[in-house]
Symmetry: C2
Subunit: 322 residues, 2 copies
């Protein structure tokens, strides 16, 4: 049988009240007594039953996902999975909610974070580009007892190194490897496209990409990142510009999660198969592009796993464990 607080009290030769004081770090316990209890915890291998504890303190986990408001396919998958997880984990007393806002505007995001009430929310998963205001707002969140986790994109690991999503530097490096191998011995330029280079994920992918391309494939050189800002006209224009001023573009790396815009612009500007094309995230669009050879590789992450990972980390932080 698993030891309970009662067993612990007996083993430590103290009362249940004292065990409770020690376990929940309440004041007014002699140092020596605390040690008696902690020793006993080790000795009998006591493990707090979190379900019972949460029941007693009526705890429920309320987590919020702050996401961009673009209507892209990958983001839809994420929100679907959030809704699914919300249903699946309802019996575990967790409720998940997604809120869409202009995550590219640090003011809006910081204001939203500032308005969060610890009485309503226990943790937030934030998908937004890095910005000083946001970082400050997150620090203030932590002070108010709301836990925040960078989700996919995001802020530098504040203190602890937990971040939900793939290793973006490694993803960029993989893209470079594939690009170099697929292109082969020819020499030329590679076009790199992002929604905005202000996003940390794009920066990290670019970093990983450049590292490998420079060291392993010196015949290829990557052009400065083209930014789409989610604007079709702008994307078409800058992309056409790049293609005409650099006729030797052998590859295109689309770093942003939403590949549709750049890929459509590319299809309009150049015939299929001229460039080795690598994109991110599996969506109906990228999948179709892969099958019709308009894309040569997709680097994808599983939306369901992403949501569950965020949930797992937020819950662990709320419980103050690991």
């Amino acid at each position: 049988m698993r030891p309970t607080t009662k067993d612990l009290a007996e083993a430590a030769q103290v009362s249940l009240a004292t065990v409770d004081r020690v376990l929940n770090a309440r004041p007014g316990v002699n140092e020596a007594t605390v040690r008696r209890v902690t020793d006993a915890i080790e000795r009998i291998g006591f493990q707090r039953n979190l379900a019972a504890a949460n029941l007693a303190r009526q705890r429920h986990y309320r987590f919020l996902f702050l996401l961009p408001q673009t209507g892209d396919a990958f983001l839809h998958q994420i929100t679907d999975r959030i809704a699914e997880a919300n249903r699946a984990f309802a019996s575990d007393m967790v409720s998940l909610q997604a809120r869409h806002l202009d995550t590219n505007d640090p003011h809006v995001l910081a204001k939203t974070l500032g308005a969060l009430d610890p009485a309503d929310v226990d943790g937030v998963a934030i998908m937004a580009p890095e910005a000083p205001q946001v970082r400050d707002a997150m620090a203030r969140l932590a002070a108010r007892g709301i836990h925040a986790v960078p989700f996919l994109s995001g802020q530098p690991a504040g203190g602890e190194a937990d971040f939900v999503g793939i290793d973006n530097r490694a993803a960029g490096a993989t893209a470079a490897h594939l690009m170099g191998r697929f292109i082969g011995p020819r020499a030329g330029h590679v076009l790199v496209i992002a929604e905005t280079i202000k996003a940390r994920d794009s920066l990290e992918r670019r970093w990983g990409f450049d590292g490998i391309l420079g060291s392993r494939f010196p015949a290829l050189s990557a052009l400065p990142t083209v930014e789409t800002y989610g604007d079709a006209a702008r994307t078409a224009r800058t992309l056409a510009n790049a293609l005409t001023s650099h006729p030797d573009i052998l590859g295109v790396y689309v770093m942003s999660a939403e590949a549709r815009l750049p890929l459509e612009a590319l299809a309009a500007a150049a015939p299929v198969g001229c460039q080795v094309t690598i994109a991110h995230e599996r969506t109906p669009f990228t999948e179709a592009a892969l099958l019709t050879d308009r894309v040569d590789a997709i680097i994808a992450q599983n939306p369901g796993h992403l949501v569950r990972s965020a949930l797992r980390i937020l819950r662990a932080r709320t419980d103050r464990r690991e």
Copy 2:
């Protein structure tokens, strides 16, 4: 406030005892009354509090991982993660245990499964090649109320389609894509190596590999699968044979989770860089091989995620949800 059984009783105009009878499917309730309660559940959005329920019924989850006994690096990572998850989820009343046995011997495995007592174990994750005896043993397990999930390798989806691990057909297809693109326009043979082709994961990888290679890269043809049986001498011999009888081997696909044996044999039999080499699972060995160009690509899965997925599925099944 979240509705409780008490609220449900009130909403359905019945007593708590009847609510309990309906919720736990106890006999002796009029059909019309059952409907009254289920309607009320829908109406007020009642969700059973699993933590409280498990507390009351003193439930704890005891799951067992049955793994091969080979000393390979990937398997070590898995067992490490099992131990880690065992620690991390102890406060959630789950205990994980790993047992190593000769999973290639269906008799041993079936006997082990047959000896499992529902009083000791709630669920099992099984990593073993497919075999009729094992499938039967799993069916009998289910009858005794012990839930089983194929882990990485394994049995066909018995009824439900849950399986823990990557989509092996897709992995094989990816390997073929990379192989074809890396090799380029040359024509020749590709060597495929597995520990044993009796394992379903190898079969599925082979299936996916052949599908893509045949349809997309007709210049390449894959040789019959070479089996290592985990035996170094045998591996070296058969591999050398294959290389001499087919001087035009342009690529090697190592399907087994333990790539070390085949890769060492390959290094001994052929100079580095003669063949495009693709393997599975990230281990210190394969990582080093990747960096020194003895391997061109690794298709990997995250051991921690694998273990947590198995845990999540086993727990869901034990709770009879989804």
